[in-house]
């Protein structure tokens, strides 16, 4: 599996093959879920709770039902099957069930002839609420025993001490994935009691399981189809409007379309968990880590979603990519009335990376050591035990290589002496003269697990089919923009020796699960399934025809063609279907010990910032990165992931925060939730480190999340270097820099 197979074939692995959906996307005719349409369709709209916590006293749908053009109004009373859903724990009612547990929780849905009527009808529903005091303090929730999960790590000698000690308290705010495409779904009744559902998702099979349970329908009557998706970043890991739009279609017998507007989207999907982290690092005078002690508190909001797994990641990556034999962690994810939290790129590792990298810089300063030297000295390498779980690192872990590579990228000139305001902190606000600007440089290194952990039965199915017209790859993996579609083609081309490869998106009735497009897993998991299926197909064809090589025009033996592709397919298309699994993982024991992870990936970032310390303004000049990729299957796609992920990491560092007051999001719009623009985007230089790995196709690792993990602490380290401020909370606000 780890052999490097690079051929001269166009569009095989190792090339920057172009994505097959690129032309429709630049022409504007790629069909996103929100573009689906039929002449007889209805529009759906949702009524949401205006309170973070309230008792639903009564609901009168009469005024909505009475409106012309309204075809259905549904509430929790109309749920035919299981009344709750959820990926890990089915704890969220389909609609408010007696209580609203968070601001924006769905109360009712309406289907009407047009979008405007649907919205007006939803607003016409009369609800009597009894507002209650929301539980919004996660510590209070933990004290009350209101948690989704509590975990601990006890490794080594918990009484050991080091003579050099640094302590810190760190916080990360609530970040939103803010994919450009909002939630959208299109449900079409088939006229025979069944339903086809096209919906924005990261994992249609896990959606399907929850949808059929709530609809109380047999599996085969509901078919979930991959739909065109405008980004995800974790926001589509959980159910949003899926069940609602399906219920409306079944109730009306007509196709129903639902599309969230931006404010609904902010209310309607899970966020990155806000966190509060208390850290203590102890080292010997030479800088060897002796002990790390941490308390982690994440706020999971009102419903479970993936909070259990997010907490596990935060916990296992408490120490980052460093060796430490004595580790004590107590961690909890609270259940509150804040907006539900769940998956976002980096998935728990982002929060603890910010804290632990801040600690490493503090420790370096305390020791009088160069921060990178301290990191090299303690670098976690292949063959070492994970400092938290004790798991021996299998496969590659080029921690030293990424540190060396990031340091070797040349730094820019000291300060641009330009007075162009577009290049100064604050931009064209003309607030900062160049003479006020101070430059800072900061580094960070981040570690992440690959694919699902803790004994989860993680698999991906793929089917590769040889036809006279070319090869088809069948999968239900969700392409959310990252380029999985291209990687599937590239792997198949390289294995089967043909350029003519098309990816066919199957629905849930046609193929088994590909697992989630999350956890940096699809290049390895669906890529691994496609690789295994293509290899199986090739070997089967060669065996059937007695050949030793498969090319795009047939089977060869000793360089001579002995069968054409038409011969191979004489009895019909030939296919090979695979269910691929990564190396087995296991649940941790009560001390958090065990082989909980399938693999690891490491990356480093260096940020250069210009700061106006008097006004607290920051311009990020550049963020460079060195990234462990195992094997580079598509260098251009890797660069795209690295640059895009860095921007989200920078967003968390200095811009992106959902401001939440008593459970209510105060800035659920693109006017008030700030996302980095072209003018905010720093220059980025990338270094790709290829050290192979033990199970991905051709030795590839997933790299979707790494760029968002250590980019945030690198930016903060740079601002600290420029200002001397402690900056223990992200995003950093101007007042944190000014010190008021």
């Amino acid at each position: 599996m780890t052999a490097k197979t690079t051929s001269g074939l166009r569009g095989g692995i190792g090339t920057s093959a172009q994505r097959p959906d690129g032309i429709p996307k630049v022409m504007g005719n790629f069909a996103y879920a929100s573009d689906l349409w039929s002449e007889d369709m209805l529009w759906g709209s949702t009524l949401r709770s205006p309170y973070a916590y309230a008792r639903l006293v009564s609901i009168d749908v009469g005024p909505a039902v009475a409106m012309a053009g309204v075809r259905a109004v549904l509430t929790q009373d109309d749920v035919q099957g299981k009344r709750t859903f959820g990926q890990e724990e089915q704890d969220q009612p389909v609609f408010c069930d007696g209580f609203a547990q968070y601001w924006g929780e769905p109360v009712a849905v309406v289907a009407a002839d047009d979008e405007e009527t649907a919205r007006r009808a939803a607003a016409a529903i009369v609800v009597e609420w009894e507002p209650l005091a929301p539980l919004t303090d996660p510590q209070q929730a933990v004290d009350n025993g209101s948690t989704f999960r509590e975990m601990k790590i006890r490794r080594g000698d918990v009484d050991s001490t080091g003579s050099v000690v640094v302590e810190g308290v760190y916080e990360t705010a609530t970040q939103d994935q803010a994919p450009l495409g909002t939630e959208a779904g299109f449900a079409i009744p088939d006229g025979e009691g069944g339903l086809d559902l096209y919906v924005t998702s990261q994992w249609i099979h896990v959606d399907h399981r929850q949808i059929v349970a709530c609809l109380d329908m047999p599996d085969d009557l509901v078919r979930c189809h991959p739909a065109g998706i405008g980004g995800a970043f974790g926001s589509r890991e959980d159910i949003s409007l899926h069940i609602h739009v399906a219920m409306l279609a079944l109730a009306t017998g007509r196709p129903v379309k639902m599309v969230y507007d931006r404010t609904e989207s902010f209310a309607g999907h899970v966020k990155r968990h806000p966190s509060h982290m208390v850290y203590r690092h102890e080292a010997d005078p030479d800088g060897n880590l002796v002990k790390v002690t941490a308390r982690l508190l994440l706020d999971g909001g009102a419903y479970a979603h993936t909070s259990r797994a997010v907490l596990a990641n935060a916990t296992f990556f408490t120490v980052g990519p460093y060796r430490c034999d004595n580790v004590v962690v107590d961690a909890a994810v609270a259940r509150t009335n804040n907006p539900p939290a769940g998956a976002m790129r980096g998935f728990g590792a982002v929060q603890t990376c910010f804290a632990s990298e801040s600690q490493m810089d503090l420790l370096a300063a305390e020791l009088g050591m160069d921060p990178l030297e301290l990191r090299r000295k303690n670098a976690l390498l292949a063959g070492d035990p994970m400092s938290t779980s004790g798991q021996i690192i299998e496969g590659s872990l080029p921690t030293l290589e990424v540190i060396d590579a990031i340091e070797a990228i040349p730094l820019p000139d000291a300060l641009a002496d330009s007075d162009d305001p577009r290049l100064l902190p604050g931009g064209t606000g003309l607030t900062t003269p160049s003479s006020s600007v101070v430059r800072g440089v900061g580094y960070a290194v981040g570690l992440k697990n690959l694919a699902f952990s803790e004994g989860f039965d993680d698999f991906a199915e793929a089917r590769v089919v040889m036809t006279p017209a070319g090869v088809e790859v069948h999968t239900a993996a969700m392409e959310v923009g990252q380029g999985l579609v291209t990687v599937c083609q590239q792997i198949t081309r390289t294995v089967l020796g043909t350029e003519k490869v098309a990816v066919v998106w199957d629905d849930t009735s046609q193929i088994g699960s590909a697992g989630s497009t999350s956890a940096s897993r699809q290049t390895q998991m669906t890529g691994g399934a496609v690789h295994a299926a293509a290899v199986g197909l090739r070997d089967q064809i060669l065996a059937d025809h007695g050949g030793d090589e498969l090319r795009d025009d047939g089977v060869y033996r000793d360089g001579a063609r002995i069968a054409t592709i038409e011969d191979v397919c004489a009895a019909g298309p030939v296919d090979h279907h695979v269910r691929f699994r990564h190396p087995e993982t296991f649940p941790p024991d009560e001390n958090g010990q065990g082989d909980v992870h399938a693999g690891f990936v490491v990356a480093a970032h260096r940020a250069v910032v210009d700061v106006d310390p008097e006004l607290g303004l920051v311009r990020v000049v550049r963020i460079d990165t060195s990234q462990d990729v195992g094997t580079a299957l598509n260098p251009q796609a890797i660069t795209g992931q690295l640059e895009g992920g860095i921007m989200q990491g920078m967003g968390l560092a200095i811009m992106e925060e959902l401001v939440i007051d008593e459970g209510i999001i105060l800035n659920p719009t693109f006017t008030d939730y700030l996302i980095p623009t072209f003018l905010d985007a720093p220059a980025v230089e990338t270094r790709i480190i290829e050290a192979g790995d033990h199970w991905g196709p051709f030795g590839a690792k997933g790299i979707g999340e790494s760029p968002t993990i250590s980019s945030t602490p690198a930016v903060i380290a740079a601002i600290r270097a420029a200002t001397g401020r402690p900056l223990t909370r992200v995003p950093v606000r101007p007042e944190d820099i000014v010190g008021i």
Partner: protein, 153 residues
């Protein structure tokens, strides 16, 4: 009320109720879903069209105010056989990931290049600062501009 808009060179008459945006009319009445709806506040640029020679957010224009206007959407730029050079460059440089911002970026970018075939990097950044991309981090889009401006040089 009937509104007459010349869209991608073709005169179209739409019966609008009054309050809908040009974006809504393009997507829902004129069968032009290439123009995307992502924020409806003029912040993200996904709905960028050229309106009487200006690149604007179509979510901020009342459809009724488009009466008599000339509008170019992404569907009016290039064809599968002959893509606009900026469309080609976006593909070649990996400027497209999820693609939801892409129509707006293509319209804003080609509009900039028509007015200024050799924009500097900072001019590009400023001209497209209203087009948010959540996937690429903008690097690949800037490289797409670079290839187009080099070709023209």
């Amino acid at each position: 009320m009937n509104v007459t808009i010349t869209v991608n060179g073709e005169e179209r008459v739409v019966d609008v109720a009054g309050a809908e945006s040009l974006l809504t009319v393009l997507r829902n009445d004129l069968d032009l879903p290439g123009t995307k709806d992502a924020c409806e506040q003029g912040e993200c640029g996904s709905c960028t069209v050229v309106f009487d020679e200006e690149a604007i957010c179509s979510c901020l224009v009342m459809a009724a105010d488009a009466d008599g206007a000339e509008v170019t959407t992404v569907e009016g730029l290039g064809s599968e056989d002959e893509l606009h050079p900026f469309q080609e460059a976006m593909l070649a440089e990996g400027g497209v990931q999820c693609g939801f911002c892409t129509p707006g970026v293509i319209v804003a970018g080609s509009h900039l290049l028509a007015a200024n075939p050799q924009p500097s990097e900072i001019e590009i950044r400023e001209a497209l600062s209203g087009n948010i991309c959540r996937c690429t981090g903008y690097g690949a889009i800037l490289r797409a501009f670079e290839t187009v401006t080099k070709e023209d040089a």
